[in-house]
């Protein structure tokens, strides 16, 4: 009604009804978390790729496996990625090797199981937070839409009590309701993009890990 109605962003948010404000709050928190996870994921995935690269380089450089194992375990830090798979497999292999009465196939089976376990742990680490990003990507637009629908419902309900309906009476309500959808989309779009990108990165890493496991199994079999 009044020509001087404040349409600034903050007054829109402040003027929204409580459910809409709650929806906005949930979406903003969700968006903050999803972005936090995105950045964490970017860092961890990048590091895992770099580690795999480095480890493959050193592994295929043809050095002594015992030395490699020693250098890995001598680190204070627990080995990660491909190194942890190598560490688990080689430890198991060496342990079985000491018991001379064991069959070669049993030794290989044990080493393989150990590597499989390490691989699963690694995959679990790499997959962390991806379900959250997927949920944010698919659900937050709906949450935003809910807030918008609620806000527009309010705007039109208020309009019904007025005899002469003008756009200026509905516009602020719709504008503030649309802010909810905007925030929902802002949370969802990066989450979906990040999810797809991380899923493909993790897939590629898992393929690398598995192929390394097969190759390392072959090497151990030759050794024994």
């Amino acid at each position: 009604m009044n020509a001087s109605s404040d349409m600034s962003f903050f007054s829109l948010v402040a003027g929204a009804s409580l459910p809409v404000q709650l929806v906005m709050l949930i979406l903003i928190i969700t968006s903050l978390f999803s972005w936090w996870y995105i950045f964490i994921k970017v860092a961890t995935v990048k590091r895992a790729e770099r580690d795999a690269e480095d480890f493959e380089d050193t592994f295929w450089s043809g050095g002594d496996l015992n030395k490699l194992y020693d250098s890995i375990t001598s680190h204070r830090r627990k080995p990660q990625g491909m190194a942890s798979i190598f560490e688990a497999g080689f430890k198991e292999y060496a342990r079985h090797k000491q018991q001379t009465r064991m069959d070669v196939s049993d030794v290989m089976e044990g080493a393989r199981r150990a590597m499989r376990a390490a691989y699963n742990r690694e995959m679990d680490e790499l997959d962390a937070h991806l379900p959250f990003l997927a949920s944010v990507g698919s659900v937050s637009p709906y949450i935003g839409l809910f807030g918008t629908v609620w806000g527009i419902m309010n705007a039109f309900r208020g309009l019904s009590s007025v005899g002469q309906a003008t756009l200026t009476q509905v516009a602020p309500g719709i504008a503030e309701a649309l802010v909810a959808t905007a925030i929902g989309l802002f949370a969802a779009i990066p989450a979906v993009i990040a999810y797809n990108r991380f899923a493909s990165s993790v897939d590629r890493l898992s393929v690398r890990y598995e192929s390394f496991m097969e190759e390392f199994t072959n090497i151990l079999q030759r050794k024994s």
Binding site: A3, F9, S31, W36
Partner: protein, 274 residues
């Protein structure tokens, strides 16, 4: 919530996340024009005390004609008695004037009705003689006609009332002038409406339509025009009614005291005649 190996990155990621949101908020505030400089729709309204009558000056010019013509008669008879008027400058004036006008109006006005009616019928009879004279008289007629009723009223008043007040002497002049203005504006209203009538709807005959209209002081119609006499052609009646509505606001004299005479007007139209 966080894996152990993610801990070193968590703080950096948190800062980045907040940064991203701050950037988005900034972009939102900058890119959108949140300023609400509504183009305030100002409807400029000029307030008029009275109608913006374009023709107003004219009525003031024309009415003086009857006013001027009238006074001479009493004045002419005042002239023979200039002495009382000159000597007692202010106070005595009313008395002699009234006295004079008592005598004076009676004589001239009684003469007028007698003289004029004969003239009018007589001259049409003489038709053949002088067209010019006829025209002159016809031109004078509208001026003279309005005089009669107010003058007669004044006469009656003068006869009935006491002779003391000088104000009464002025009344006939004023009322006559007003009557001139009233007729002037009635004619203006009539012509304004007539100009808006779609004559083609009224056929070739000479239909007569009578309407009674109620006017507001602004010149607008107070109520729907009332058809008092139909022309027999519905389309013609409608055309005249539309013309009345289209003629709003109707011209009214500036003098608000005259308005009561315009409150209800009975207008007769001959749409095909013009």
């Amino acid at each position: 919530m966080l894996r152990q190996r993610e801990n070193p990155d968590s703080f950096k990621a948190g800062v980045l996340s907040i940064t991203v949101h701050a950037i988005l908020l900034g972009a939102l505030l900058v890119s959108f024009n949140w300023k609400t400089t509504h183009p305030v729709s100002i409807a400029e309204v000029e307030l008029w005390d009275s109608l913006p009558a374009v023709n107003v000056p004219k009525p003031e010019v024309t009415p003086p004609v009857p006013v001027v013509k009238e006074p001479p008669k009493p004045e002419a008879k005042l002239e023979p008695k200039p002495e009382p008027v000159v000597e007692p400058k202010l106070e005595p004036k009313p008395e002699p004037e009234i006295a004079i006008k008592h005598e004076a109006p009676k004589k001239p006005i009684k003469k007028e009705p007698i003289k004029e009616p004969p003239k009018e019928p007589v001259k049409p009879v003489k038709k053949t003689d002088q067209l010019a004279e006829l025209q002159k008289q016809l031109l004078q007629e509208p001026v003279e006609k309005p005089k009669k009723p107010p003058v007669n009223d004044a006469l009656k008043k003068l006869q009935q009332e006491s002779l003391s007040d000088s104000g009464t002497s002025a009344e006939p002049k004023v009322s006559a002038a007003k009557a001139g203005v009233v007729d002037e504006f009635k004619a203006k209203i009539q012509t304004k409406i007539r100009n808006n009538v779609n004559k083609s709807l009224c056929g070739d005959g000479n239909p007569e339509v009578k309407f009674e209209i109620a006017l507001l002081p602004t010149g607008e119609l107070g109520a729907a025009p009332k058809l008092t006499k139909s022309s027999g052609i519905a389309g013609c009646d409608d055309a005249v009614e539309r013309a009345i509505r289209a003629s709003e606001p109707l011209p009214l004299p500036e003098d608000k005291t005259l308005f009561p005479q315009f409150r209800t007007l009975k207008l007769t139209f001959h749409p095909s005649k013009d």
